[in-house]
C-alpha cells in the first residue's frame, strides 16, 4: 500500500505556533551546571508547591460553591490563600521564574498544570 497522505489546514501559522507551545513546555533534558543548578532545583520545588497551592485553592472554591463555608471560614481561608500566593510571588521573583515556567511535562499524561 502506498500512503496517499493528506495534510490539510487553512491556518498553518496558527498550528505551528500551538504545536511549538506544547513542545516547548519543558526542555527535554535538564541543563544542569554550577551556575543554574540552584534555579533548576528551585523551579522543581516551586512547581510542586504551586501544584499543591492550586489544588488547595480549587478545593476551597468547590466548598464555597457547595455553600458549606461560613463567613468566618471564608475570611480565614482567604487570608491563608492570599498569604500563600504572595509568598509564591516573592519566591518566583527571587529565583527569576515566570508562571509559565512552573510546569512539568508528564509525557503521555500531558502537562502537570
Amino acid at each position: 500500500m502506498t500512503m496517499n497522505r493528506t495534510i490539510e489546514t487553512d491556518s498553518q501559522e496558527a498550528f505551528i505556533e500551538e504545536i511549538e507551545k506544547i513542545q516547548d513546555a519543558l526542555p527535554k533534558r535538564i541543563d544542569a551546571n554550577s551556575k543554574n543548578v540552584e534555579k533548576g532545583l528551585a523551579k522543581l520545588v516551586l512547581t510542586l508547591v504551586e501544584l499543591i497551592r492550586k489544588l488547595l485553592e480549587k478545593q476551597a472554591m468547590r466548598r464555597i460553591e457547595g455553600g458549606s463555608l461560613s463567613e468566618e471560614e471564608i475570611e480565614q481561608m482567604g487570608e491563608t490563600l492570599l498569604k500563600l500566593e504572595n509568598k509564591m510571588k516573592e519566591l518566583k521573583e527571587i529565583f527569576g521564574l515566570k508562571d509559565e515556567e512552573l510546569n512539568l511535562n508528564l509525557g503521555p499524561l500531558g502537562d502537570l498544570m
Binding site: 500500500m1 502506498t2 500512503m3 496517499n4 497522505r5 493528506t6 495534510i7 490539510e8 489546514t9 487553512d10 491556518s11 498553518q12 496558527a14 498550528f15 505551528i16 500551538e18 504545536i19 511549538e20 507551545k21 506544547i22 513542545q23 527535554k28 485553592e57 480549587k58 476551597a60 472554591m61 464555597i64 460553591e65 455553600g67 463567613e71 471564608i74 475570611e75 480565614q76 481561608m77 482567604g78 487570608e79 490563600l81 492570599l82 500566593e85 509525557g107 500531558g110 502537562d111
Partner: protein, 276 residues
C-alpha cells in the same frame, strides 16, 4: 557500531529489496521468533540542539520514510525516533521481554492506519463570552468584599466559575467534533486543551478500507459553519496506538508523531505527499 531500530514487523523474513536508512546505512530485519525488528547500523549522535536541528530534521524524515516504506508490505509498530541499542543482544532482550505485547499490537493494528486531527478554537472570544455570561447571571453564592481576604476569595471564586464554564464549553465542542469520526474510527486518543487555543489534539485509528469515509467525515466537519480551525493529516503509520502492558524502564520506544507533525507542519500543508 550501535543499532538503530525503526520498528517491529509481523515477519521474520529478510527484506524484499535493499533499503538505506539514517546515514545511508543498510536497513535489515533481525528476526525474533515469528516477528522481526527492522534496524540499521548507527554511528551518529545527532543532538536535539539548535546547531544539529537541521540534521535532526533530516533524520526524522528518514525515519518516517523507512517506517512508511515498511507499511507497504507489513503491519508495523513504529519505534520512537532515535531508539538505539548498544548491541544485538540488548535488542533481542527487548524483543523477548515485549514479545507478547508486540504480537497483540501487531494483531490489533493489522490493516489499520492513523489519522490526526488538531482543532484550534478562538479561546479569547470564548472566554470573553463566558465572562459576559457570568456577570449577567445571578449567582447563588455571594461573597462580601469587606476585607482584603474576602475580596481575594471573591476574585478567585469568579476565576474558578469562569474556568469551569470554559472547560465545559470545551467539552461540548470536543464532543461535537468527535461525533463526526466516532462511528468510523476503531480507537481514538483525544487530548483536550493542551494549550488554551488548541481545543483538541486527536489521533484516530481507522481501518484501511474506511479511509475515504474518514476523509469525507472531515470534509463535512470542515463545511460546518463556525469559527474552528482544523489541521487534518493522514493516513500515518500507527504511531499513537502501540500500547505496552509492561512499561519500558527508562526509554519510551514508541511515538514519533508529534516531532514529525511539527516538522511537516513547517514544511508546508495542503499537499498530497506520497511515500517513497
Amino acid at each position: 557500531m550501535k543499532i538503530y531500530a525503526y520498528g517491529i514487523i509481523d515477519s521474520n523474513s529478510g527484506m524484499d529489496e535493499p533499503l538505506r536508512g539514517l546515514g545511508e546505512a543498510s536497513v535489515y530485519n533481525i528476526p525474533y521468533r515469528d516477528i522481526g525488528i527492522i534496524v540499521g547500523a548507527y554511528g551518529h549522535t545527532p543532538l536535539l540542539s539548535d546547531e544539529a536541528k537541521e540534521k535532526t530534521d533530516t533524520y526524522i524524515l528518514e525515519h518516517e520514510r523507512i517506517v512508511e516504506r515498511l507499511t507497504e508490505g507489513f503491519t508495523v509498530l513504529p519505534m520512537r525516533f532515535l531508539t538505539v541499542f548498544n548491541t544485538k543482544e540488548d535488542l533481542l532482550s527487548m524483543a523477548e521481554l515485549y514479545y507478547e505485547d508486540f504480537k497483540n499490537n501487531l494483531a490489533r493494528l493489522h490493516n489499520k492506519v492513523e489519522f490526526g486531527m488538531k482543532v484550534i478554537w478562538p479561546a479569547d472570544t470564548i472566554k470573553q463570552r463566558v465572562v459576559d455570561v457570568y456577570h449577567k447571571t445571578k449567582h447563588n453564592v455571594s461573597i462580601s468584599t469587606e476585607s482584603p481576604a474576602k475580596t481575594f476569595v471573591k476574585e478567585k471564586f469568579q476565576e474558578h466559575i469562569i474556568e469551569k464554564e470554559f472547560q465545559e464549553e470545551a467539552n461540548r465542542c470536543v464532543i461535537a467534533v468527535d461525533d463526526h469520526f466516532n462511528k468510523i474510527a476503531c480507537e481514538k486518543k483525544l487530548k483536550k486543551l493542551q494549550t488554551e487555543n488548541l481545543l483538541l489534539n486527536a489521533s484516530y485509528l481507522v481501518d484501511k478500507d474506511r479511509q475515504n469515509d474518514f476523509k469525507q467525515a472531515f470534509e463535512q466537519l470542515k463545511n460546518t459553519p463556525g469559527d474552528l480551525k482544523f489541521l487534518f493529516s493522514g493516513p500515518w503509520p500507527c504511531y499513537n496506538f502501540v500500547t505496552l502492558t509492561k512499561k519500558p524502564s527508562s526509554v519510551d520506544y514508541f511515538n514519533t508523531e508529534d516531532m514529525l507533525g511539527r516538522l511537516l507542519a513547517q514544511q508546508g500543508f495542503a499537499q498530497e505527499r506520497n511515500s517513497v
